[in-house]
């Protein structure tokens, strides 16, 4: 593997038509964004800012109305199958298949990739064990706690060994301790695998903890701030947090963010 390709977003626009009123809603309005290979980026924004729409476009579930979103030279929507085995997602809810055991859930993407059966098992087991689920590989999702289910979902994503890892509010519904723990593991594993990781969150602590870069979305995914966390001292994280908060509230960049 030569490392993940860069992600480039140019003039991206996504407009939805509401089924009931027929009105157009601009979810994303001319977004430009570049994400370097292996970068770990947190996208923050308030509910309804177009984060999830951006995410669906990243996965390739939806088509841009205008503009381009390319990963390397390919579009996740137009070249849908090209990205088989290259992108893996951890969703807000675990989204495990209830009729499959933890192990079978973790190896689902490998089955789709036609990986030989013994290797599927081995890779799924490896990731489940790393995430502390070695004793629960045969448990059904309903037999696991929320945190454990999310671990299975993370194992499922990592088993793919993807170039691009996406996490959509993946830790948001867990209690703080579990969330912090899982977030830490997720980031460590992402760095270890050399994947580009994009995390969507509405929690500022989470965004700051993620590290490399924080992208702040305003209404219609307007790019309000693009923060390189490395330029900030850990002592200033309080100010950073407040500045992002102020940015989100006023829907305009806070002056403290310019460095």
């Amino acid at each position: 593997m030569n490392g993940p390709p860069p992600i480039s977003v140019r003039g991206l626009r996504k407009v939805f038509r509401q089924t009931t009123s027929g009105q157009s809603v601009v979810a994303i309005d001319r977004l430009d964004l570049t994400i370097a290979p292996k970068e770990v980026v947190a996208i923050v924004g308030q509910t309804g800012c177009g984060k999830s729409t951006f995410f669906d476009l990243m996965i390739g579930l939806d088509k841009p109305t205008e503009g381009t979103l390319n990963i390397g030279d390919h579009s996740p929507f137009a070249d849908f199958d090209y990205f088989r085995g290259k992108i893996a997602t951890v969703f807000q809810q675990d989204r495990l298949l209830p009729w499959r055991s933890a192990l079978d859930n973790a190896k689902l993407p490998l089955e789709l990739l036609r990986v030989p059966e013994p290797e599927q098992r081995e890779r799924a087991l490896k990731w489940l064990t790393r995430l502390g689920l070695g004793k629960f590989v045969n448990a059904y999702p309903h037999e696991l706690s929320g945190g454990m289910r999310q671990r299975v979902a993370i194992a499922r994503a990592f088993a793919v060994q993807p170039e691009i890892l996406l996490a959509d509010e993946a830790f948001g519904h867990l209690d703080e301790v579990t969330a912090a723990e899982l977030r830490g593991e997720f980031l460590a594993l992402a760095r270890e695998c050399g994947s580009t990781a994009i995390l969507i969150t509405h929690q500022l602590e989470e965004a700051i903890a993620v590290g490399d870069r924080i992208v702040v979305f305003g209404k219609s995914a307007k790019l309000l701030a693009d923060i390189h966390v490395g330029q900030w001292d850990a002592a200033d994280y309080g100010t950073l947090r407040e500045a992002i908060q102020a940015t989100l509230q006023s829907n305009a960049p806070d002056p403290r963010l310019t460095r």
Partner: protein, 257 residues
């Protein structure tokens, strides 16, 4: 005696006392009526005694049961396969759905008797007629139920599956079919009781084997005891098949408990 009975989702091995008591009361009342019939002006053949019914049950030919059972199971399997394939096609293509949906609604509204008459008029072979009637009655039920169930699969799971970029076959085999399994079992239970009732009517017309045929013979001989005996066999058959499906369901859906 009505064939409608409440269906249990879990295999019910215990036989409730109340059921036994109500059956015994019915049997006693029937027996009493059979003895009182001459005094009440009821023709003697109309209410045969339990002894007579017992003798009829003893003369039941297993071959007819096997033939009817084979027809029902065969036709149900064909209906199931066609129904699910149809549902998959209609799930994939909205256009196909728009064209086929009204047709299926019409098919489902046609009375069973009309289908039987059509079958007799159109097709020469007895087996084909029976299979045709059963499939045309049960197939749409499988189709409509499966399609509804597929549409009901949560968007979350569908998007999750899509995010890993499955082939169309994988999408159905690994997500859709397991997801609709609970509803498939419900359809099977509904269709088994439907098929058992339809097959007897279909066999009544034109078949020379099967329970329906035996019923028509019994009717020609004015043998209420025989009709009664075959009816008991049919009801027992229905319960047996339902228990079988419930057992398979319990096994395949154990991830739910």
């Amino acid at each position: 005696m009505a064939l409608e009975t409440p269906r249990e989702s879990v295999p019910d091995t215990s036989f409730p006392k109340q059921t036994l008591v109500s059956l015994l009361i019915f049997a006693a009342a029937w027996e009493a009526l059979s003895h009182l019939a001459p005094y009440l002006g009821i023709p003697p053949f109309a209410v045969p005694s339990l002894m007579k019914i017992g003798r009829s049950i003893a003369t039941i030919t297993p071959l007819d049961i096997v033939v009817t059972l084979a027809r029902v199971i065969g036709a149900l399997i064909i209906s199931f396969v066609l129904g699910v394939l149809g549902a998959m096609a209609m799930y994939r293509s909205q256009t196909l759905d728009n064209y086929l949906h009204p047709m299926i609604r019409i098919l489902m509204a046609v009375p069973v008797v009309s289908w039987i008459l059509f079958a007799v008029l159109w097709f020469p072979g007895v087996e084909f007629r029976i299979a045709f009637v059963l499939v045309v009655v049960c197939g749409p039920v499988f189709l409509v139920d499966s399609l509804d169930a597929m549409r009901g699969v949560s968007r979350d799971l569908r998007n999750m599956m899509l995010s890993f970029r499955p082939t169309t076959t994988d999408y159905f085999v690994k997500l859709m079919l397991p997801a609709i399994l609970p509803s498939v079992f419900t359809s099977w239970k509904v269709n088994i009781s439907l098929a058992i009732r339809v097959v007897t009517i279909a066999e009544l017309v034109g078949a020379v084997t099967g329970i329906g045929h035996q019923l028509s013979v019994a009717q020609e001989l004015f043998s209420v005891a025989d009709v009664f005996a075959w009816t008991i066999v049919l009801v027992a058959l229905l319960f047996l098949l339902e228990a079988l499906v419930a057992r398979i369901e319990h096994r395949l859906l154990r991830w739910r408990t």
